[in-house]
Amino acid sequence: MHNKTLSELSDALKAGEFSSSELTRSYLDRIASLDPQVNAYISVAEQSAMAAAKAADKLIAAGKASPLTGIPLAQKDIFCTEGVKTSCGSKMLDNFISPYNATVIENFNAAGAVMLGKTNMDEFAMGSSNETSFYGAVKNPWDINKVPGGSSGGSAAVVAAQLAPAATGTDTGGSIRQPASLCGITGLKPTYGRVSRYGMIAFASSLDQAGPMTRTAEDAAMMLNCMAGFDERDSTSVQRDVPDYTATLSDSLEGLKIGLPKEYFDEGLDAQVGQAVEAAIREYENLGAIVKEISLPNTHLAVPTYYVVAPAECSSNLSRFDGVRFGYRCEDPVDLEDLYKRSRGEGFGAEVKRRIMIGAYALSAGYYDAYYLKAQQLRRLISDDFSRAFEEVDVIMGPTAPGPAFGIGEKSDDPITMYLSDIYTIAANLAGLPGMSVPAGFVNDMPVGLQIIGNYFDESRLLNIAHRYQQVTDWHMRVPDQFK
């Protein structure tokens, strides 16, 4: 059962080949036996999963099933889930059980999907290797000595190791695409505002966006059909119709204009990753696409801009974790200041504290203009680069990450090198554009991804482009031996 894609599972459930209860049980059993190797789940919701599966079986029997009814899914532990711990990978929320469901969770519940559990992640989604989690590092299913990428490393690992047929992730600077690349799966970060952020614990509000992490582009389309849409509880979600993302998957790519930004193929890129991306581009040419070199001249400003904007927003977003109303509170505070200092000092990990300090500094009186305001101006320049590019081409392609997965511990003492892992993904967040990572080969037996960036609300096109590639390649269907 666990070798099937989401669409195959959906068909099998409807055809009565097996029940959701059987399917859910089989995944729970796999998690129990295999997850300890990768540490990808923070919580497994066995009881509620089985109950949901049973309810789904009734819907299926009654002929009331929608495509995701009865499908077991893994949810990143950043989405608030009523009754199941929502930790955001932090000691700060190790005791937090949300009294409400995130909109994304509500949407899946309404579709009759089953939540297997909550996936491990970098603490408050701050990290590119999943090493900052309070619950320990997630291991890459392709080599357990390597990182899965981050921050949605747990979600990437559960899909790669077949511990869930699909998962959700969130992407602030590459947190869906980079781990998808490093684990050999398909990941889509939609346009900012396409998926509601309500109930998704905020890291950097103007950049955060939830999306699917799946084996195939078709599965991602099925997931996005359920996730996308306007939500009156999120003022930044966009009031715009949601197309059926599965309907256009097989459209022709004849005449598709692909732009290759020369800045994405510079000396920072691993040569073999570059070759894998070039091979993928040749497949697209075979499919009728036209390739053109373009320039995104402000690419080099993306990482420094991001590391002002994201910490600034997070320094404010994380102020609510103060030990007063919920979450971690230090033992025996002597006064209010002590309560604040120790609760936050003990509850947050080093990377979170680093970013809060950077952000508070960038926003403080006398520095605001030089940092935050300047970063907003640069953000506009970066967006303008893309607007100009999309006058010439339909999509932009390049590597998702500069290299394949690195060793656990290899970069954890060097934040700057770690931050550069997201050098190709961050710009899409700053501009609010949709981006995908699609498995495109292996370098030293580790998967690497092709990144596809589209224009605003062009998710259908991205999924179509990814799907057509997946019809002529099988990188996305490879599974590490011990998880077959």
């Binding site: 989405f79 608030c80 929502t86 955001c88 929320l93 937090f96 949300s98 009294p99 409400y100 995130a102 952020r197 309500y198 109930g199 998704m200 614990i201 905020a202 950097a204 509000s205 103007s206 009156e232 509880r233 999120d234 003022s235 930044t236 600034a312 927003e313 320094s315 404010s316 994380l318 102020s319 609510r320 974790f321 103060d322 007063v324 109303r325 919920f326 209010l336 604040y340 508070a360 926003l363 403080s364 009186a365 605001y368 935050y372």
Partner: protein, 478 residues
Amino acid sequence: MEWEVVIGLEIHAQLATKSKIFSGASTAYGAQANSQACAVDLGLPGVLPVLNQEAVQMAIKFGLATGSEIAERSIFARKNYFYPDLPKGYQISQFELPVVGRGNLEIRLEDGTEKTIGITRAHLEEDAGKSLHGDFQGMTGIDLNRAGTPLLEIVSEPDMRSAKEAVAYMKKIHSIVTYIDICDGNMQEGSFRCDANVSVRPKGQQELGTRSELKNLNSFRFVERAINIEIERQIDIIEGGGEVVQETRLYDADKNETRSMRSKEEANDYRYFPDPDLLPLEIDSQQIESMRASLPELPDAKQQRFISEYELSVYDADVLTSTRQMADYFEAVVSASGGEAKLSANWVTGDLAGTLNKESKDIQDSPVSADMLGKMIKRIADNTISGKIAKQVFEAMWQGEGDADSVIESKGLKQVTDSGAIEKIVDEIIANNPAQVEQYRSGKEKVFGFFVGQVMKASQGKANPAQVNQMLKDKLKG
């Protein structure tokens, strides 16, 4: 040395929306602690603010009522600081681009002088919760019912030169926000309060002196007292050779003194930045025009109309338009009285206002409705009762004994206008008081009052005073 005082006010008007500014929770006052705080108000992880459009409409109305600029585009910003009753660790406010910009307000002082006070801006923001320091065994209790209540912070220019001007300005703002129904104006419940920035400088000096900010003044009386005390304190310091330090001070009404709360050095760096959870607030001219159409007549216009339409004095018109309720009441009285504007004004500002004041009642809670009072005034005008008897009727109506006509009927208070009946009494009084008649006829005209009094007494006040006067004059001539 002669000193000049410079005062600017920041008024916080709680907007009378049904729900909070960024959540659907109720804003009703006085509910059980934390029973009106939803996930958004509690600042739970993952929640997001959604702007209440009713609050925006109210801000637009305020801008229109004060002739202020209304921004086509304004921005919500986060003001970051830690406090237990501030759930998110930041307050959503407006900083660089407020919804209401520059405007002007005319104020009138008690001595009749008029002055224009500049409004710098007015912006929307959320209120914090309350910290309760008693009853928790040395701990502090937090009530978040108030967290997220919409406030309009109205900032004035430093245009006021005395505590009296500050109070007149604050009263004017109070009257406007209650007129346009965006604030209940209840100062005891904290719905309308202000911070005062006060400084002094030698008369003639251009440069401003160092200011102190007096926090949370919640009555007109406290504003006046606190400012005056602060002025004295600052002058004393300077005249004593010292320097005023920039600081935030609290007014202690019991001790009638101000004391330091925090100095400039201790002030927070609020790290303001645009709130990424909220889109810029955009207001188009159509929205502004529809709000303009919904605006009621404002205090100044109403006062002018009262003067011209009812021929009232400036003073009466001022008093009668001081609140919308009083103005509405007055106009209903005039209408029920059949157009007796002057009499109505006298009764509303006189007996009614006095009785309300004595019993600490608001006009909307008056046991004598405008209709009842108007119909009573009609009976004065048509000579059914005299003004004096009317006081009895009013008293009876206040006590709930029915409307004017039934009180007049049941108590037999109808005025006697039958000249035969009056003549009988007059003749009797003249016959029984020969000495006084003699005095009158010898030129002591003061005694006339005695005869009027006797006749009225004999008629139990019901004789028509004008007829009594005329008849007495005729008969006493001899």
